[in-house]
Symmetry: C2
Subunit: 413 residues, 2 copies
């Protein structure tokens, strides 16, 4: 099939999403010649490497933008290299990290979780005890509320997709539903919050409404099938689906049930949203509807002209993704992307769109809509009303410019 | 709530599946005392470990039963330690392996996939070319057809769950649908099979009906979000959802379209099923409906009497799991287990059941039914008619005996 006759769905080469599974693409494969076949490479002339206890990764992929704050030990962030991944799961070794005083080395057998405060029966749980309770296991995203803050700089930063947006990852999280543990402790009348604190050096703490703990929160013990990694809270962490990552307190050590939030450092001077009138919005927990194109993106350069697959991720703290649209002309026209088979609640959803690149400059964008009908805002709307220095909950549309050489860069469009 | 008053769903302590999310379990947590709270452990007195490029696992979990065949280099198997995992995803580093001549070290940029034989346009694809095609990404299991063969020994083997059943794993597999590539090559009239061969030293090959390649087969490039591990076929492998693992040829190098199967060594002397009359059944591709209890299981010992959570995995090559039943009395009575939220096509499904262990000996079993109505057979039915030495496609019900000390062992019940 001659790909130049494929119908467009939006300007600048975006093809109908049904094109994905129909079109013969012609240009990508090469015709077989005698020389390409028949010669066996050297690695077929001898047996390969033997068995071992674990399979190492095939590539040197690592997290990027590893930033430690000056004067601190281990306070900082590292980001998932989104531009090199596909699918919805983040390999656990590449899950983003955000620590306030590094990664504690906790002896799991000695660790305890205490539920106390306004409860009838203050309780202590060790890891063995928690394993006696029912476990639920779900594929869900975790996003730091400081993710994508680089989009607020006055000029577009020369950064790649992982460096800008890599504080988002998705895993299968398994753990004990908190409603069971709270019911066993017995909530006293009038209690409405719980203060969760971790076993890291600053005893990082956040206040969480009891309503969320009863809705879908877990004490997570497993990530992608195996016990949590130390960097993600081993032996146990709070996990609050769809809410800003900081509130999913790692190395969970205590839940103090209260009748008001603690107004701790991490929910007042940090993780609050200051507006231009000087008011700080507190407890903006759910992460907004959002999407990014991971390929093509800075560092991944297009080769010859022809059809490419745009691929990206969409998510919303409010639930499932309903649709994703993509644009190749900076937002003037939009085409609907195809969503992968697994469209899950509060999880990353992979979207794809076929795009014919004719060699002219283009500006690629994606725009997500979630099941509540919320639509991802453009950058201007997302910035409006913020005070200088306010940088949480950025979910603006990302634009990547493609130049005539096929190189991608971050732009404001 | 006094757990002794909970209603039973089957004999020997199996509780109603709705108990999972309702009952206060009382016995697992300890009441908080002053001494248990307030003392900060040493790891809270100093900052923890700094950021790095990747998160290492928190535990020393490794694959088990690493067997290389005598006189070979790297021919053998290693198994997933199922008894230590939870959820449905297998961490990629713990995915089972089965190699016929070790793990080749392939330079991805030099690797080629050739589609030839009875096609109109023989084609060559490199990794860059394949990335220009649409990718689909799905959570699905992979099982070696030699899995669970230890259940055929005359006496029950003293082995743990991973050693007996660990040739099963599940991942998110992402790759290019083969129907697109085959359509581009153009199948000639009368062609019905394709012979897939790998770039390992023996050029391991298997014949696959074209019908399956058109239905849901992919050339897999990604596993759990990242490029395939070398042990699982980097840079590309065939992936045939629900079919015996050996046919999902790793390090895929060629697909030769033909009008008949090759009758190669791996589909005649191996991977065929000999019956007592001396007939070999060939090409029994789909894996049968199956389940195993992963906890409790040998090596995981129960402690004090009380309520425990039975947890296990179920799967079927024919599609989704419809139900799983569990028994605590060796199959005399059965209770329905609860399935986790994600019940996916040709994927592992996690099931759970609450069980009150009063300290008496018990025999735990699980029995799966798939969406087609197929029910997992007991051991006698699964063995019947097999010739001595025939060991593929064992999907018999597994029984674990629990003794009065809480220890589990493999038994035939």
């Amino acid at each position: 099939m001659d790909s130049s006759r494929l119908p467009d769905a939006a300007d600048n080469g975006l093809l109908d999403r049904r094109t994905l599974l129909r079109a013969g693409l012609g240009s990508a494969a090469a015709l077989l010649t005698a020389s390409a076949h028949g010669t066996r490479p050297d690695h077929m002339r001898q047996p390969g490497a033997p068995m071992s206890g674990t399979s190492p990764p095939a590539t040197e992929l690592a997290r990027t933008a590893i930033q430690s704050q000056p004067g601190t030990l281990g306070s900082g962030a590292s980001r998932t290299p989104l531009q090199h991944l596909d699918g919805l799961i983040t390999p656990s070794r590449l899950h983003f990290e955000r620590h306030h005083a590094g990664i504690p080395t906790i002896a799991a057998h000695a660790h305890r979780l205490v539920i106390h405060g306004r409860v009838k029966r203050p309780l202590v749980f060790d890891l063995d005890a928690l394993h006696r309770y029912p476990i639920v296991s779900r594929l869900q995203f975790l996003e730091c509320s400081g993710n994508s803050a680089a989009l607020l700089t006055p000029q577009p930063a020369d950064m790649d997709c992982g460096a800008i947006h890599g504080l988002i990852s998705a895993s299968e999280w398994g753990g004990v539903p908190l409603n069971i543990l709270l019911d066993e402790a017995g909530i006293e009348p009038g209690a409405t919050w719980a203060v969760a604190s971790g076993a890291d050096a600053p005893a990082m703490n956040r206040s969480v409404p009891l309503e969320k703990l009863y809705e879908d929160a877990i004490v997570a013990l497993y990530q992608n099938g195996e016990p949590l990694r130390r960097a993600n809270g081993y032996p146990m962490r709070l996990f609050l689906p769809g809410w800003e990552g900081n509130a999913s307190v790692k190395w969970l050590r205590a839940l103090q049930v209260t009748d008001q939030p603690a107004m701790s450092r991490q929910e007042t001077s940090k993780y609050s949203d200051l507006d231009v009138d000087g008011n700080a919005r507190l407890f903006t927990f759910p992460m907004g509807v959002k999407s990014i194109i991971t390929s093509p993106s800075p560092g991944l350069t297009l080769g010859e002209h022809g059809i490419y697959q745009i691929s990206g991720l969409a998510w919303s703290g409010a639930g499932r993704i309903r649709r994703v649209e993509v644009s190749a002309d900076g937002g003037k026209t939009w085409a609907e992307a195809q969503l992968d088979d697994h469209v899950l609640d509060k999880c990353l959803t992979r979207f794809r769109a076929a795009w014919r690149w004719r060699g002219a400059p283009a500006v690629l964008m994606s725009r997500a809509t979630d099941a509540t009908g919320a639509v991802q805002p453009d950058r201007a709307a997302n910035i409006e009303g913020r005070a200088t220095g306010s940088f949480y909950h950025v979910n603006a549309i990302q634009a990547w410019a493609i130049d005539s050489h096929g190189a991608a860069r971050n732009v404001y469009a």
